[in-house]
Amino acid sequence: MRAFAALLDRLVQTSRRDARTALLADYLRRAPDPDRGTALAALAGGLDIPKVSPAALRALALSRIDAALFDLSREYTGDTAEAAALAWPARPGAAAPPRLSEVARGLAAAGRDGAAAALPAWLDALDPAGRRALLALATGRARPGGPPLPVAEALAALGGADPAEAEEAWRACPPPHVALFAWLEERGPRPRAGARPAFRPPMPARRLEGPDPPALAPADWIAEWQWDGLRAQLSARGGARRLYARNGADISAAFPEILEAAAFDAVLDGELLPVRGRNAPGGGGAGLAAARRRLGRAGAAARPGDGFPARLMLYDILFDGAEDLRGLPLAARRARLERLFARAAPPRMDLSETLAFDGAADLARLRGLCRERGRLGLALKRRDAPYAAGRADGAWIVWPRAALSVAAVAMYVERGEGAAAPAAWTFGVWRAGPAGDGLVPVCKTARGPGAAAGRRLEDWARANAVARFGPVREVEPALAVEIAFDAVDPAPRRKAGLELRRPEIRRVLGDRPAASAARLEDLERLLAPPGPGG
């Protein structure tokens, strides 16, 4: 438990991917089975433990802690579980600290009502950090937050496996993953999902930058729209059905209508799209935002008649029944997908159309249609390529639609972490206020300017800073910059009510006065129109 608590405490403080990979790999290398697999499940969200309610937690705390002192503690930490953990009085001579796996098994066996009764003996035996980790586990909050954990990389570092392979084996092997570690340490066979609807790492696409169409032989490639939705994997195997996000998160509960429609035995790759109007695949803007909100609310929003029922736009097949098709060329998989689609005729699903093109000029023409049709760009796929997870090898290419641009004004600059990291800039546009025009922030980005221009920009910021808050400088509202961006998304929690998608610094508008930069109304006009429910 102590090693797990130390790991959790460090992951909470660290968002850097390389550092998190090293921390996780080091723990997994050193901790014994089944603790390490239990830890992995707890951190990545795959541990099935009934949650102790806040009320039960408080009652537990008050069994040992004076109520007034506990309330002061709760107020100070801002968190009931942490206050209870830290304020729990030590019991000298208590039993040896429990192992993580023992705690997880005990909590699962105790069930929702019995868990609180199991906790005191463990709390007595642990140090403050251990108690905090224990109660995080018991309240279902042992995930460290921040960006997704680099589990695949950490597992790969453990055994010299390829990250995509390691991820597939991890998903195929239920907690506490004992067979997974045995395989990574070359003591056992590779775990396989068999007939279970496990997640398979998806095939990534390489992003093509710039306005020039790629030089592709039309005979070797197929083109599709790049849909503006959520990439999803639908796994219907052996009678069980699951829907996964591209990071492997199980989003089945948020989209029951899709699962219901999956009356076949296959694993499919596609894009979840909110439906706009009757049966028409829509995408983007408010509908997409609503779909994302549904992920947060799980099944709650999935009532029939909800503003945005979803459809699944299918474009690949990984398994047809028990047959693994991933080694087949795309053309063959596509034929199998079409056959399955014709056979099963699943409601709420569509086939992503393939777009005929006969050369670069034709691709450019198709790309030019993207914005008005609400597509993100073009997806270009080699006909002979197998379905390969892992690093994008160029067999799939996304050529995004042409960016929009806006003249915005620099407001703040935040120093990057480490000597080489670029600074992150916040840009705003003008908005009328009671005291005249003021700037309202619309995006923050470190992307775009390149090393030399980036340094010149930072020099300018140092010379024109008006205030400093730790690593952040507020600068004179005097620098107009052209920002390229893909779209304007609604953002109700932002002051501007909107934000730019994929903002990038294009160039400094040296000769242009800041006062002539864009106004908020200009961006509001570009907001995707709200869907039928909003």
């Binding site: 004076d66 002192l69 506990f70 930490t77 304020a87 403050p128 120093r415």
Partner: protein
């Protein structure tokens, strides 16, 4: 011990705790005629006094930290040495907080008041341990006067730092520390854990390390950070420990280090909220008594009356009251009509 109630001869004045029969202040916040100073931290040792009584170590720290010109008249008191000031007697007892730190034991006509200053109860090789002195009134600090403050074993926290050095040998580990006390304690803890590489010091720390050494504290080899970090634009001191005051971590020298990994060392690091933004490795290492140690100390000094200051008085007053003590915040002393 039964003399006049302490409240009748100890007052809380705007400049601090004032002992009427001796006409002196303890740790006054601004210049006074006579000050008894518990230790060298900036919130206890202020400039501008005419006369200062403190341990020889604290006076030496004063010479390093405060400008020397027009320095005060000084009187060094060894631990245990008694001195009469007016109608009061004073002696100093070790507080275990930092080098030279002392409790002030004041007696007047048979009543004994102990003013703890800052104190801790854990072993610390850089200063003598806290000595419980039986008294009628114990004026206690309460910096960590909430039950959520339960400091773990410092050796275990140092083990986490060593573990990080093992795991990230390509990164300079920069520990943000107070220049007085915490810096030297971290060095001593590292040595106790068997770490024998030179520890790199921010320039602000050098003079106090020298002073600790002159006072006989073993800290092992140290080197100024400047030399190593001066050249080039990065990559210096990979896998080494650098000690520096926290505000300096954003300075340019820190950007020349090899991918610096920020470590914090403070009793405040025990809660997530305070640890947030404190770097990748917050260590809970404190030079103050934690909650359990505050209450244990009250029992050991046996004082029927506790006056609490410097922290969360409400919680510690409540807990001490529950143990049958007469406890209140120091700020209430002499503030209203005498009870």
């Amino acid at each position: 011990m039964s003399g006049p109630a302490a409240e009748s001869w100890i007052r809380v004045r705007p400049r601090g705790l004032y002992v009427v029969p001796g006409d002196f202040y303890i740790d006054p916040s601004a210049g006074v005629d006579t000050a008894v100073v518990t230790h060298g931290h900036g919130d206890h040792l202020r400039p501008g006094h005419r006369r200062v009584l403190a341990t020889a170590e604290t006076l030496a720290i004063m010479d390093v930290r405060l400008p020397r010109k027009r320095g005060p008249e000084r009187r060094a008191l060894a631990y245990g040495e008694r001195i009469g000031i007016g109608d009061a007697t004073v002696r100093l007892a070790p507080a275990g907080h930092v080098l030279g730190s002392a409790q002030v034991v004041v007696e007047h006509r048979g009543t004994r008041v102990v003013v703890s200053g800052d104190y801790k109860r854990r072993p610390d090789p850089t200063c003598p341990p806290f000595e419980p002195v039986p008294c009628d009134v114990f004026v206690t600090e309460a910096t960590f006067g909430l039950p959520v403050f339960r400091h773990p074993d410092a050796a275990g926290e140092i083990a986490r730092l060593l573990d990080s050095l093992r795991l990230f040998p390509d990164r300079a580990h920069v520990v943000g520390v107070y220049a007085l006390g915490k810096a030297q304690r971290i060095a001593a803890l590292l040595r106790a854990a068997g770490y024998d590489r030179p520890i790199r010091l921010h320039p602000a720390l050098g003079p106090l390390f020298d002073l600790y050494r002159r006072c006989g504290v073993e800290l092992g080899p140290t080197e100024p950070v400047a030399a190593a970090a001066a050249g080039g634009r990065g990559g210096a001191l990979a896998g080494e420990v650098v000690l520096a005051p926290p505000p300096s971590l954003g300075e340019d020298w820190a950007r020349r280090l090899a991918d610096p990994l920020a470590v914090a060392a403070s009793g405040w690091m025990g809660t997530r909220r305070r640890a947030r933004g404190a770097g990748e490795l917050p260590l809970v290492i404190s030079d103050h008594a934690d909650w359990d140690e505050l209450l244990r100390t009250f029992r050991e000094v046996g004082a029927p009356e506790i006056w609490a200051t410097h922290g969360r008085e409400d919680a510690i007053v409540r807990a001490a009251t529950a143990e049958g003590l007469r406890a209140r915040p120091l700020s209430s002393i002499g503030a209203g009509p005498a009870a």
